[in-house]
């Protein structure tokens, strides 16, 4: 059996296509990101070696500090929002007692299919300070909380993060549903026979079984926050001032507007390193602690 599973030729054959593709089109460019971040480069011409100067300069800017904080805020909001709602709705949609399940399943995923530009336009209208839906709604309900959502120095990032959270919730939702679908029906019956309520069943059985799925979802949402770019580019252009800057946005402006591509890449390099830290932390948090994992023998729950 061991030989069957350690067949070197088979292993090589299986991993080769993916590796070649990945190394050629992603890994080498990433290496180049780190490499050129040490140079003064405009993207096209000769590069001048600068050592770590780009990084020193980057760390000294106020925008860098703001960007890191924004990455965390963004990641926090979308993680909490998406994981919470995705779980809730996934549980609903996989529960046979809920009517119109198929409709909900499609509905919650629709925002993911829409173009991000349209979604941003919609939320800009909703968040508009003078005539937006949100402020108007609050006025009608008598709530005294009109905000300048998109222009506040500290509120803007939350508003923009919300747009992303809202649009991509469907994506986490689909992942969790797929995960739940592969939990055998027998488990639920066993739990029922044991007299568990719905909440207990899900809390003690369903969620732990989806550990790997959640590891992945959390990774996607947290790194998604650190990598945030598109919504910021469309809605606030990093503004007001640098209030909604993120590392990816800094990289973009430096690379294409000031033509200091090398300097921009230093921001990108920091971004990659931060994401690496996140994946390491998450893998450690989700490591297999107890002997009780997914029962390999089928029905019996430990």
């Amino acid at each position: 059996m061991k030989r069957y599973l350690s067949n070197k030729w088979a292993i090589a054959l299986f991993i080769a296509p993916a590796l070649i593709l990945f190394v050629g089109f992603v890994f080498i460019p990433i290496v180049q990101v780190f490499y050129y971040s040490l140079f003064d480069w405009d993207g096209v011409n000769k590069a001048t070696f600068l050592g770590l100067d780009n990084y020193v300069k980057l760390f000294g800017t106020s925008a860098f500090k703001v960007a890191n904080l924004n990455g965390l805020k963004f990641g926090l909001l979308i993680t909490v929002y998406q994981i919470f709602f995705a779980t809730l709705f996934a549980l609903a949609v996989t529960d046979k007692r809920v009517p119109f399940r198929k409709f909900f399943r499609t509905a919650y995923f629709i925002p993911v299919v829409l173009s991000v530009t349209i979604v941003c336009q919609l939320w800009v209208s909703i968040f508009d300070a003078d005539h937006g839906l949100l402020n108007t709604l609050m006025d009608r309900l008598g709530i005294e909380w009109r905000q300048n959502w998109l222009n506040g120095r500290y509120s803007a990032i939350w508003a923009v993060a919300f747009v992303n959270a809202w649009q991509w919730m469907g994506y986490q939702f689909a992942l969790i549903v797929a995960g739940m679908k592969s939990i055998p029906q027998d488990f639920y019956e066993a739990a029922e026979l044991d007299g568990c309520t719905t909440v207990q069943t899900h809390w003690y059985m369903t969620l732990p079984l989806l550990k790997d799925t959640y590891n992945f979802c959390l990774l996607v949402s947290v790194t998604g926050g650190i990598k945030a770019f598109t919504e910021i580019q469309i809605i606030t252009r990093g503004g007001p001032g640098t209030a909604t800057n993120t590392l990816a946005y800094i990289m973009y402006r430096q690379a294409f507007v000031t033509h200091k591509y090398g300097y921009g890449l230093s921001a990108a390099a920091i971004l990659v390193l931060e994401c690496l830290v996140v994946i390491l932390i998450l893998n450690w948090l989700f490591r297999d602690r107890e002997a009780v994992k997914v029962p390999k023998k089928g029905r019996v729950m430990a």
Partner: protein, 416 residues
Amino acid sequence: MKKFLSLILVLALALAVMVPAMAEEKVTLKIYAQYADDDTMVPYDYAKEKLAEAYPNVELELIVQAQDDGATLLGLAAAHNLPDIYQTGAGIMPTLRGSNQMMVLNDVAEKTGFADKVFESAKNFLYADDGNIYAFPYAGNEYVLWYINKAVFADAGVEVPTTYEELLNAIEVFKNKDIVPLALFGQEGWITAAMFDVIATRYNAGGIKALDNGSASIKDEAYVNAAQTLYDLTKAGLFQTGVTSTNYDQASELFLSGKAAMFLNGQWYIEDATKALGDDVCWIAYPAPTAEEFEASKHAFSGSGSVAGYAVNPDSPNAELAAEVAAFISEKYCEAKITLRNNPLVAVNTGLTNDTLPPMMQDLVAEIPEMTSTTAFTWGLTNQVFTEAIGTWTQALVSGEYTVEEVIDEIAAAME
């Protein structure tokens, strides 16, 4: 007999090969150009039409320019895959020149007589700092104009402001009537920089241009005062709420629908503004701190043209022809702008005139000889780091969320 027949055969074959070669070959030139709104589509279509007459064997394959801060052009340059002819701006020129992807056009400019036809006032948009020609310009000088809606003013009983004092009063009145005093598309850094500039030029005529070329510093009193003024005006409510996430069309609609009393934009807006508001719209001299300063500085304008236009890829298989075509197209753009877009502010003297210019343009044309100084739009600045900084931090200023000190310090820090 055989020899005779074989001779005929050889001759026939030779003719068969030569005749098609003697006929004109169709050459396809890829051209990277703006093509999305009337301002860019009308000149292009006109140029294409005229090109078909003058160069019948040339086909243009249009590649529409993306509004992505030049990212696409940079990517193409990195892959050495630039189109034959491409529109370029001042910002990316150093990069392209450095990698020899901009053809030196001096000879072609001579040959086609383009160089001679360029207006004196536009000569510095033609020649780069090393005296060479890298692009054929078509846009002439451009200016930042302060537009007002006379009907809205009359309705509210407000006089046209000439000092900041009067402007503040006007703001009060407009706010009470639920009218936006000045609509600004603060999402874009260039207009917030222009807003800063129209104030700064009251204190120092060099405006942001002086900051760009280093002849003035952001910490000079003139600029600190300007920043303070802009801050005060913002806090008084000069702009619509949500100014920093308002886009161009949104702000424009506010003005054209009468919901805003004033608007800041370039002179290219005259056409659309006149179409929507007719006689109700006009532009005014920028307000100043006091009445005397207003009189003294009312001919100091913000904005100017820039080194930009159609450039040619020297590695193109038809470089020479492409260069000639580029020169031709630029010239036709100028013709189209004058005759079809009511915009006489072009780089090339085409010999054409337009007698039916809208009133605002006539006023502008009359004003131009009186102008004492101009500055620049952000895309005409030479220091890219400064361009980025001034755009970002003037936006910060009009949001009202940053203090004047912070803004000044940040700009100064970026310039180090």
